[in-house]
C-alpha cells in the first residue's frame, strides 16, 4: 500500500457479483497466463469493462461482493485492470481475504450513496471516503489490525518476507 490517499472515479456494480462474474471458471486453463486471463475480466457481466476502466478507478459494488469460488485470480485480475480499491456494502469472506493478500484494499461502507462516475477520494488509514462529486463523506468498517498490516506491506507475500510469521 504505497499510497494512503487514493483518488479516482467510481465504476458502479450491483449486488452479488460472483467470482464467476469477475473471471469465469471456463477460463481456468489460462490461470497460469495472467496477461491472457485478465483479458476476460467481467466478460459476461460488464462486456465493455476493459474500455471503461482507467488506472486508479474504484469498483463500487453492492452486497456480498466476490461470492463463490476461492480463486484468487478474481482480485488479481481486478488489480491488473488498474482498479485501485474496491468499495462494497459487504464482501464474501474468501474474496475479502484474497484481495487484502494481493494488496488490493476493500472498504466496506454504504455504497448506495455513490453513483457511477462519481469522483472519490479515499483515505485508507482513516477509512474515510470523500465523494467529491456529491460533496459528502462515508466511513468504512474497520478491518482487523493484522489485515491492515498485511495491506500496508502491499500484500501477504511482502508481509511474510519481512516478518517471517504472522504477528498478532
Amino acid at each position: 500500500m504505497p499510497e494512503t490517499v487514493l483518488k479516482g472515479k467510481a465504476i458502479k456494480l450491483g449486488d452479488n457479483v460472483s467470482t464467476d462474474d469477475i473471471i469465469p471458471g471456463r477460463f481456468a486453463h489460462l490461470r497460469s497466463n495472467l496477461p491472457e486471463l485478465s483479458k476476460h475480466i467481467f466478460e459476461d457481466l460488464v462486456p465493455d469493462f476493459a474500455s471503461r476502466v482507467h488506472q486508479g478507478d474504484f469498483l463500487v459494488a453492492g452486497g456480498n461482493f466476490g461470492l463463490g469460488s476461492s480463486r484468487e485470480h478474481a482480485p488479481l485480475v481486478i488489480k491488473m485492470s488498474g482498479i485501485a480499491a474496491i468499495l462494497a456494502k459487504s464482501a464474501a469472506r474468501i474474496f475479502f481475504r484474497n484481495a487484502i493478500n494481493q494488496g488490493l484494499p476493500v472498504l466496506l461502507c454504504d455504497t448506495a450513496q455513490i453513483n457511477d462516475g462519481d469522483q472519490l477520494e479515499i483515505n485508507l488509514t482513516e477509512g474515510v471516503i470523500t465523494n467529491l462529486t456529491s460533496n459528502s463523506r462515508l466511513t468504512s468498517t474497520k478491518i482487523p489490525p493484522l489485515m491492515f498490516a498485511i495491506l500496508k506491506e502491499g500484500g501477504l507475500i511482502p508481509y511474510i518476507k519481512k516478518h517471517k510469521d504472522f504477528e498478532l
Binding site: 452479488n16 460472483s18 464467476d20 462474474d21 469465469p24 471458471g25 471456463r26 481456468a28 486453463h29 489460462l30 490461470r31 497460469s32 497466463n33 459476461d44 457481466l45 452486497g63 456480498n64 461470492l67 463463490g68 469460488s69 476461492s70 480463486r71 484468487e72 485470480h73 482480485p75 488479481l76 459487504s90 464474501a92 469472506r93 474468501i94 481475504r97 484474497n98 493478500n101 494481493q102 482487523p144 493484522l146 500484500g155 501477504l156 507475500i157 511474510i160 518476507k161 510469521d165 504472522f166 498478532l168
Partner: protein, 419 residues
C-alpha cells in the same frame, strides 16, 4: 462461558481462549490445493522465499477439476503440480482418484482437525467435525510454509434439526431450503453448527452434502458434532483410531438459533442464477431440460448413485435429455460397480464420467450450449458456471435429477418413486 464447536476446535489448535471475534493463530492438520488453484499457490510459495514446506505429510494436491486435462495449458499445469509434489514429498492424487473434498473425507479429515484448502467447498469436511474452510492461493501457500494460519473465530448459528425426512426428500432439499431462508450472504463470516434430535438419523453422506453447501450462505464452516455416525464412517474407512467424540458445550453462546422440521420439507430446486433462488420441485414442474448432471462434491457419493439407480432402473432417459454421471471418487465408482448401480444407470442411458469435478465448473465433459437448461446436483448455479453464460442451471437432489432425466422436464421425484 461454554463454547461452540468452532470455538472448541480453534481453542485447542491455537492454545488461546478463542472466543467469537478473536483473531487467533492456529496449527493446521491438512493444507491442500486442486489443479485450478494449485499453480498460483506454487508461484506464491516460491515468491515467499521459504525453502521447504513445514510438514509434507500434511499437504496434498488433487488433480480433479480438469481431469483428464482438456487443454495443453491445463496439462502443463498438471505437470507443474506433479513436479512440485515430487520435489516437496507431499501427497498427490492424480487424475481419476476423485474430487478433493471427497478424498479429504475418505482419507484425511478427523474430528477436531483444522483443514484449509484452496477451494471454497473445503467446508465439506465439517461433516466430520473438522474446522475446514476455503482460502485463496496465497493464504494456502503460507499455511504450507508455516504449518499454521490466522483465523477470526466466527460467531455461530445453531441449526436445530427435528423430525425425519418424508419419502423423496433428502439432505440436498434441506440445505437448499436453509440457504433459501438465510440468503446467499445470510451467514457471511459465521459458523453454521448443526444439532438436534435428527442428527442420529443423518448418515455421513447426507452430512457431507449439507456441510458442503454451508459456503453458499457465506459461512466460514459448516460443523456437525462428532458422534457414533462419525465413528462408523471412520471405521468404514479403516480409520477408527482417529475417532474422538466432540460436542458443543450445553451453555455455548449462539448468535442465532433456527429450527427446521425435516418432516415438513419437500423436494426443492434452485433456479437460475443464484443458489438462494429456491422453489419447490412442484413449482418447477414442466421446465424442459436438455442435460441432467449427477455428481460433484455435493452429491456424487454412493448413496446418491443408489438413489438415482433405484429411480432409473428399468427406465430410459428422455431421448432429448442427456444424462451425465460422475462418481465423486474411485472408491465410490468401484462400490457403485459392485452394487450394480452403474449397470442400471448405463442401461437407462447415462454417460459415466471419470471420478472428478466433471461438468461442474464448465471446463469439460458436458459444457452447455446456448439456451440449454441443465438440472445438476451441484452446489452453484451462477451465470456461466457450467461454461456458458447463455445457459440456465437448476440445482436439486439426485432423486429429483433422476426423475427429471426420465421425463425431460423438472419433476418432483415423489411422482416417480414407487414403494
Amino acid at each position: 462461558m461454554g463454547k461452540t464447536l468452532a470455538e472448541k476446535i480453534l481453542r485447542d489448535k491455537s492454545q488461546t481462549d478463542a472466543m467469537a471475534g478473536d483473531i487467533v493463530l492456529a496449527t493446521v492438520d491438512l493444507v491442500f490445493v486442486q489443479d485450478t488453484t494449485g499453480p498460483l499457490t506454487i508461484k506464491q510459495f516460491e515468491d515467499s522465499g521459504f525453502a521447504a514446506i513445514a510438514e509434507p505429510e500434511k499437504v496434498a494436491i488433487f488433480l480433479d477439476h480438469a481431469a483428464p486435462s482438456p487443454s495443453q495449458q491445463t496439462s502443463n499445469d498438471h505437470i507443474l503440480l506433479r513436479h512440485f509434489a515430487r520435489e516437496t514429498n507431499c501427497h498427490i492424487y492424480d487424475v481419476g482418484n476423485g474430487i478433493c473434498h471427497q478424498l479429504v473425507a475418505e482419507l484425511f479429515a478427523n474430528p477436531g482437525d483444522i483443514i484449509v484448502g484452496a477451494d471454497s467447498h473445503t467446508v465439506t469436511a465439517g461433516a466430520l467435525c473438522a474446522f475446514a474452510t476455503g482460502m485463496g492461493s496465497t493464504d494456502i501457500a503460507i499455511a504450507m510454509a508455516l504449518g499454521k494460519t490466522w483465523f477470526r473465530v466466527p460467531e455461530t448459528f445453531l441449526i436445530n434439526l427435528i423430525g425425519s425426512f418424508s419419502k423423496g426428500v433428502y439432505a440436498k432439499d434441506l440445505i437448499l431450503y436453509l440457504i433459501g431462508q438465510l440468503g446467499a450472504d445470510g451467514a457471511t463470516y459465521k459458523a453454521l453448527e448443526f444439532g438436534g434430535e435428527s442428527l442420529a438419523g443423518l448418515n455421513m453422506s447426507q452430512r457431507l452434502t449439507i456441510a458442503n453447501m454451508a459456503v453458499e450462505a457465506g459461512a466460514k464452516v459448516g460443523l456437525f458434532p462428532s458422534d457414533e455416525i462419525t465413528q462408523g464412517f471412520l471405521s468404514s474407512q479403516g480409520r477408527s483410531a482417529s475417532y474422538k467424540p466432540l460436542y458443543p458445550d450445553a451453555d455455548a453462546n449462539y448468535e442465532r438459533i433456527m429450527s427446521i422440521n425435516l418432516s415438513q420439507l419437500e423436494p426443492m430446486v434452485s433456479f437460475p442464477h443464484s443458489v438462494d433462488n429456491v422453489h419447490s420441485a412442484r413449482d418447477a414442474k414442466g421446465i424442459k431440460i436438455q442435460q441432467v448432471f449427477i455428481g460433484t462434491c455435493t452429491n456424487g457419493r454412493l448413496e446418491d448413485l443408489a438413489v438415482a439407480a433405484s429411480i432409473l432402473q428399468g427406465k430410459r432417459r428422455y431421448p432429448d435429455t442427456r444424462l451425465l454421471i460422475a462418481p465423486s471418487s474411485r472408491q465410490v465408482l468401484l462400490q457403485a460397480i459392485e452394487k450394480g448401480y452403474i449397470h442400471s444407470l448405463v442401461e437407462a442411458g447415462a454417460v459415466i464420467l471419470p471420478p472428478g469435478c466433471a461438468a461442474c465448473l464448465g471446463l469439460h465433459q458436458g459444457v452447455l450450449g446456448d439456451g440449454e437448461a441443465c438440472l445438476s446436483t451441484a452446489n452453484r448455479n451462477f451465470k456461466g458456471r457450467m461454461g456458458n453464460p447463455k445457459a440456465m442451471l437448476y440445482l436439486a437432489s439426485p432423486a429429483t435429477a433422476a426423475a427429471s432425466a426420465i421425463t425431460g422436464e423438472i419433476t418432483d421425484p415423489r411422482e416417480v418413486i414407487i414403494d
